[in-house]
């Protein structure tokens, strides 16, 4: 949350995507521009007629098995048994996203292992694999404990696997604020860079798409029961009825601008500032008036040294739940309405589904692409804006104009709110041309 103008400038200088709307930057840009969603019919529990029938599926991978030997992935990636044995399903996706990001950022093994390179991650772990291993423990009456069961399943699994593989030495840390986790990771990475303690931080978010990780949210009635992939995720729409889950992984590099420039790395965007707040309200439900998120936005805007009127686009957290979207809409009206500002607002979860702790790194990646490629993703699947959205600018289609200042909102269970402020960098267009 440090001042925008002092010290090193953190920029985003590498991207990697394994998502429901594309498995590389080019595919993702095309999907965002065309508002092409990645949702499909999905059986969380095969053979069961569940009320939740749609998910944001990752194409080109098969990680349904609880044993890595049966996983499949695109040919361009190579894995040894030793590497796979400690990974959860989303760890496979994370490794692929990181490989893309490393190539994109032109990071060498020496730079990865440098004392000023860190790794911050966000993952809920793998309850899917954990169930297998715990069942084994109980069924064997304690005789059988998978040697790497803990490593591959708890929420630090990305830290352990990626930190060891790339010999990260600067810092390794996982963030755990539910659906705001990756935004926290990015925010604190920016602070590390601004303080001069690290030159670069790999940010990685990933999630399993399994009944264990996602269908469990039906216990809260948080998931959409709409069986139509074309309309199941419709943030800010009056007819929304819950979120659609997704998995995969996204990696991005937060780096000191000077370091990125010296290496000739692409610079997609500057991370100008960030802010956070807590609702202090409920374990799972957002403050109905959006007061916490509004404070986080105000803090972030102030920290970035901009005004609400300068914000061109807000990538909303809106997951398509009735309560959450309402809260965010009111927060947006509070911040921008009072200032007489009308930035374009959309939630790209309409296209991807909700990636939980991965969501904010995925969507920050989207914002970086919007800044570098010069477009604003529209609000897909919006037919009838909910009444609480009155006065908000929710473009139904992609706008072909280059935003200069972009906000990325994130909120998580327990009332964690994080807002990142990204800005177009003078080299952003060059990054787009490198694609």
């Amino acid at each position: 949350m440090s001042a925008a103008t002092a010290g090193p400038r953190p920029v985003i200088s590498g991207l990697g995507f394994i998502t429901s709307i594309g498995n590389d930057r080019t595919e993702v840009v095309a999907s965002l521009r065309a508002l092409r969603h990645g949702l499909a019919p999905f059986e969380y529990l095969p053979g069961c007629d569940l009320p939740v029938k749609v998910a944001g599926t990752v194409k080109g991978f098969d990680t349904r098995s609880d044993h890595f030997s049966e996983w499949r992935w695109p040919e361009r990636y190579h894995f040894t048994r030793e590497r796979l044995r400690s990974l959860p399903p989303h760890g496979l996706h994370a490794c692929c996203a990181v490989e893309q990001m490393i190539a994109d950022a032109r990071l060498t093994p020496e730079l990865l292992a440098a004392a000023d390179t860190g790794l911050f991650t966000a993952s809920a772990g793998s309850p899917f694999l954990q169930r297998r291993y715990l069942n084994l423990m109980y069924e064997s009456q304690g005789e059988r404990l998978a040697p790497l069961g803990v490593i591959s399943t708890i929420s630090g699994t990305l830290n352990f696997n990626l930190g060891a593989h790339y010999h990260i030495r600067g810092a390794v840390c996982g963030f755990n604020s539910a659906c705001a986790s990756a935004a926290h990771a990015i925010g604190y990475a920016c602070d590390e860079v601004r303080l001069g303690r690290l030159q670069r931080v790999l940010i990685v978010g990933a999630e399993d798409l399994t009944a264990d990780s996602v269908y469990s949210f039906h216990g809260l009635r948080a998931l959409s029961r709409n069986p139509d992939p074309d309309t199941a995720s419709r943030p800010f729409d009056a007819a929304r009825d819950g979120f659609v889950g997704t998995g995969g992984a996204v990696a991005l590099l937060v780096e000191n601008e000077a370091s990125a420039l010296a290496r000739g790395a692409p610079i997609y965007a500057e991370v100008r500032g960030w802010g956070q707040s807590a609702d202090g309200y409920n374990v799972a439900i957002s403050d109905p008036e959006g007061a916490g998120l509004a404070r986080a936005m105000e803090t972030a805007i102030r920290a970035a040294g901009v005004t609400p009127g300068e914000v061109d686009y807000v990538n909303a957290h809106a997951t398509s739940t009735p309560a959450g979207d309402r809260s965010e809409a009111l927060a947006l009206r509070t911040v921008f309405g009072a200032a007489g500002a009308r930035p374009a607002i959309s939630s790209t979860k309409a296209l991807t589904g909700h990636g939980l702790s991965m969501a904010s790194v995925m969507e920050t990646g989207f914002c970086a692409l919007a800044l570098s490629e010069g477009f604003i993703p529209g609000q897909a699947h919006l037919v009838t804006p909910a009444p609480e959205c009155e006065g908000l600018h929710l473009p139904r289609s992609t706008e072909s104009r280059a935003p200069r200042i972009v906000l990325k909102n994130s909120s998580g269970f327990g009332g964690s709110n994080v807002v990142l402020v990204l800005a177009r960098h003078e080299r952003s267009s060059d990054a787009a041309r490198c694609a």
Partner: protein, 121 residues
């Protein structure tokens, strides 16, 4: 050519992702109790867990080859192997005996010695 020994469901499940030759050696031992087949199976299982893979088949290495110092086997992998030996062969490998295992021959001898009586006979 079909495998000469049937592969049980237990073997198929436990050895998911293992080379066919390893599965075949385990199936042969399961069917016959033959010690030579057990030796081949033990070596094949160890070989599959080595990273990087050895430059030539483990069966060509002398029995005095050290598992950790020369083959690079780590303690986590050793636990994985112990569970496999116990699951596949019924051999109970107690920790106090495992600490004395240094070479390929030590491991082979321990697995042989710890086989349950039914198989050993």
């Amino acid at each position: 050519m079909a495998d000469p020994y049937p592969v049980s469901e237990k073997l198929r499940t436990t050895l998911r992702g293992f080379p066919a030759a390893t599965i075949a050696a385990c199936a042969e031992f399961e069917a016959t109790g033959d010690r030579a087949a057990l030796d081949r199976a033990v070596l094949a299982l160890v070989e599959h867990h080595l990273s990087p893979p050895p430059p030539r088949p483990l069966s060509t290495y002398p029995g005095s080859t050290k598992l950790v110092a020369e083959l690079g086997l780590d303690s986590i992998t050793m636990v994985e192997l112990v569970f496999l030996f116990e699951d596949l062969f019924g051999a109970k490998l107690p920790q106090d005996k495992l600490v004395a295992v240094v070479t390929i021959d030590d491991l082979r001898a321990l697995v042989q010695a710890q086989l349950p009586p039914r198989v050993a006979s």
